[in-house]
């Protein structure tokens, strides 16, 4: 594809996703967007695209997730590069066979005869009292499903570059975006990010905190407050979950010897569990203390604001876990 100009000025996260898609659409006529109300762009990532590319390339679909994700699998195999907005990523459960058993298996089952360059974008996380079916972070389900790439940007910069990488990838990629970060501002710089990358910020020496999406923001905030206490926290924003940036993750713990893994998904078989398990297996010698996981307990997300807050890890929870890891 043609050289990329990253939008120079400060951006918000959801528009950065849309910018990346529109650049790809300009560069490559095979890129086509569909989903429910993608022309209005209810969820953000497709907003404004219809104005530039029209209804032929920005297609509003019926509420038929299994079929339009399945059609996207077929269209991708057939030479298009569909970007499907599934709205809330938990709606993907309705199309789960098409993602797990089809998009994630076809290349392998055919012995590599074909590729499935498909992007499925969906929101993940609690926007504030959207309750159990519109708030969860299913990243672990997509990872465990197999055959899918998964990214979860937490900043406009990550959003722009990872969406570009997703659309340019020849593999099926699930792009998650946090609804409460849709308006988060940040500058998109020309340093590209790709599948398999992580962002380390701040760099620290006492304890490593691994997080994505909203949890990455809370981890950075916790790091700032702990700095005042003289605790140096390294925050690794694992914005690419598949491929998982193990090199960065392991290097960080080799340095700090302490790990806190934060996840807005449910704990059991979560991304937090995966990172903790990988560390317990591959960095055991470096670990000076037990690995601490912070995640949503194994409950759905409740509606009431105080209950929702109670089940999702907060800045203080992260600070407490990091402090315990260091001070024991």
């Amino acid at each position: 594809m043609s050289a990329v100009e990253a939008p120079s000025q400060a951006k918000r996260l959801a528009p950065a996703l849309a910018d990346a898609i529109s650049q790809c659409m300009r560069d490559d006529p095979r890129v086509i967007v569909w989903g429910e109300d993608v022309r209005i762009g209810v969820m953000g990532p497709t907003r404004g695209l219809a104005d530039e590319f029209g209804p032929e390339r920005v297609v509003d679909c019926p509420i038929s997730e299994a079929a339009f994700v399945g059609a996207a699998v077929g269209a991708a195999v057939g030479g298009l590069r569909p970007v499907v907005d599934i709205m809330f990523s938990s709606f993907a459960y309705v199309a789960f066979d098409q993602l797990a058993n089809q998009a994630g298996r076809l290349r392998y089952m055919t012995g590599g005869q074909l590729a499935v360059p498909l992007v499925v974008v969906g929101s993940a996380g609690a926007a504030g009292s959207n309750a159990a079916q519109h708030s969860e972070v299913p990243s672990a389900l997509f990872l465990q499903a197999g055959g899918l790439r998964v990214v979860f940007p937490s900043t406009p910069h990550q959003a722009f570059w990872l969406m570009r990488a997703a659309v340019e990838s020849d593999d099926p990629v699930v792009v998650l975006h946090h609804p409460a970060l849709a308006a988060a501002r940040g500058s998109v710089t020309p340093e590209p990010l790709g599948l398999g990358d992580a962002q380390v910020d701040p760099v620290g020496t006492d304890v490593s905190v691994f997080a994505t999406g909203m949890m990455a923001h809370r981890a950075r905030a916790a790091a700032r407050s702990l700095e005042a206490e003289g605790i140096s926290v390294e925050v690794v924003d694992v914005c690419s979950l598949s491929p998982m940036p193990w090199d960065v993750i392991l290097a960080s713990v080799e340095k700090t010897g302490r790990a806190v893994v934060v996840d807005e998904g449910r704990l059991t078989c979560s991304v937090a569990s995966e990172i903790a398990a990988g560390l317990a297996e591959r960095a055991f010698g470096a670990l000076r203390t037990g690995i601490r996981r912070l995640a949503v307990p194994d409950v759905p997300i409740p509606f009431a604001p105080n209950l929702e807050q109670a089940v999702i890890p907060g800045e203080d929870d992260i600070a407490t876990a990091a402090r315990e890891a260091v001070r024991g």
Binding site: E36, D60, F303, A304, L307
Partner: protein, 320 residues
């Protein structure tokens, strides 16, 4: 029974419930504007006659499954405004203890089994509820409410087939308000009318004027009587109108925002029909308006006064 006598017998109740739904939801619109109401809220204003017409044919023990846009179903089924407000405001005294909110209001004991945030998610549940009622000899029926947009979900077709095979007492009610969120449903729905999609499974299926409570009630009465007598499932498409947007607050992003068309008000249509039947409808309407506005106001005040749920409740009710 003649239109007149039906109106004389039930018109007042219908009008009261329809007014209650309207005033109940108008308050929610205010609460959302003021920011007191959090989360996404989908209002049913304009669709009152459908919910009231169907639910007024139900008996105690009958069960309904509902949708993200379900307040009118719940009020028509007889749920209390106070406990509904409490739920929608996330208070401890809400029907679900504040854990469900607007999209999941339900009262199991009153036969409102659950509102669903997944479009089409509750349709098959109604088939199962009807099977349970049949196998357990309850003599009750189940009603699945869903929208025109949900008519494109595969699980609807599968559920129709299953209900037809099992001949269970379930009524499928498609509330056709013309919209799938912001998309006119016609634009994403191939072929003829939605009710025709049910007919191919051999179900009695028809479309009715969903803003005419009498027409809806008649169709429901007939279908439910048949179902109670072992006549199996049926399908009613209620053609109604969504007066407000898809959800409150959508103007913030849904540009160009258009006010949806305002067809004749189903409440006024009922009032006029009652007047035509020789009832003092105007007088009745104003009394009902006074009483229901008062009820709604008191209910909201009472709900607001409720505490938020105990934090510990967040960790309960996953498993029995």
């Amino acid at each position: 029974m003649s239109r007149e006598s039906v109106l004389r017998e039930r018109g007042a109740d219908w009008l009261r419930t329809m007014v209650r739904i309207r005033r109940f939801e108008e308050k929610l619109a205010e609460l959302h504007r003021s920011g007191e109401l959090v989360g996404v809220v989908h209002l049913s204003i304009g669709q009152e006659a459908t919910a009231v017409g169907i639910c007024s044919s139900l008996r105690p023990g009958d069960q309904i499954t509902s949708t993200h846009r379900g307040h009118h179903h719940m009020l028509a089924r007889g749920l209390e405004p106070r406990r509904m407000y409490a739920e929608i405001l996330g208070r401890a005294g809400g029907y679900c203890g504040g854990k469900g909110g607007s999209m999941h209001v339900s009262s199991f004991s009153e036969g409102a089994v659950g509102a669903n945030g997944i479009v089409g998610g509750g349709i098959a549940h109604a088939v199962g509820l009807a099977l349970a009622a049949q196998k357990l000899g309850k003599g009750s029926v189940a009603v699945a409410f869903f929208g025109d947009g949900a008519a494109n979900q595969g699980v609807l077709f599968e559920s129709l087939n299953l209900a037809a095979l099992w001949q269970v007492p379930v009524l499928f009610v498609c509330e056709n308000n013309g919209y799938t969120e912001f998309t006119p449903t016609d634009a994403v729905t191939a072929g003829g009318s939605i009710f025709a999609r049910a007919a191919i499974f051999g179900l009695p299926a028809e479309a009715v004027d969903g803003d005419d409570v009498i027409a809806v009630h008649r169709a429901a009465d007939e279908a439910l009587a048949r179902a109670r007598n072992g006549g199996g499932p049926a399908f009613i498409e209620c053609r109604t109108n969504r007066w407000r947007g898809h959800h409150e607050g959508e103007e913030s992003y849904a540009r160009p925002y258009r006010e949806p068309p305002r067809p004749p008000d189903p409440l006024d249509r009922l009032e006029q029909a009652m007047a035509g039947a020789g009832l003092d409808a105007a007088q009745l309407r104003s009394t009902i308006e006074l009483e229901e506005r008062a009820l709604v106001a008191e209910s909201l005040a009472a709900a607001r006064a409720e505490p938020e749920p105990e934090t510990s409740r967040a960790f309960e009710d996953v498993f029995a």
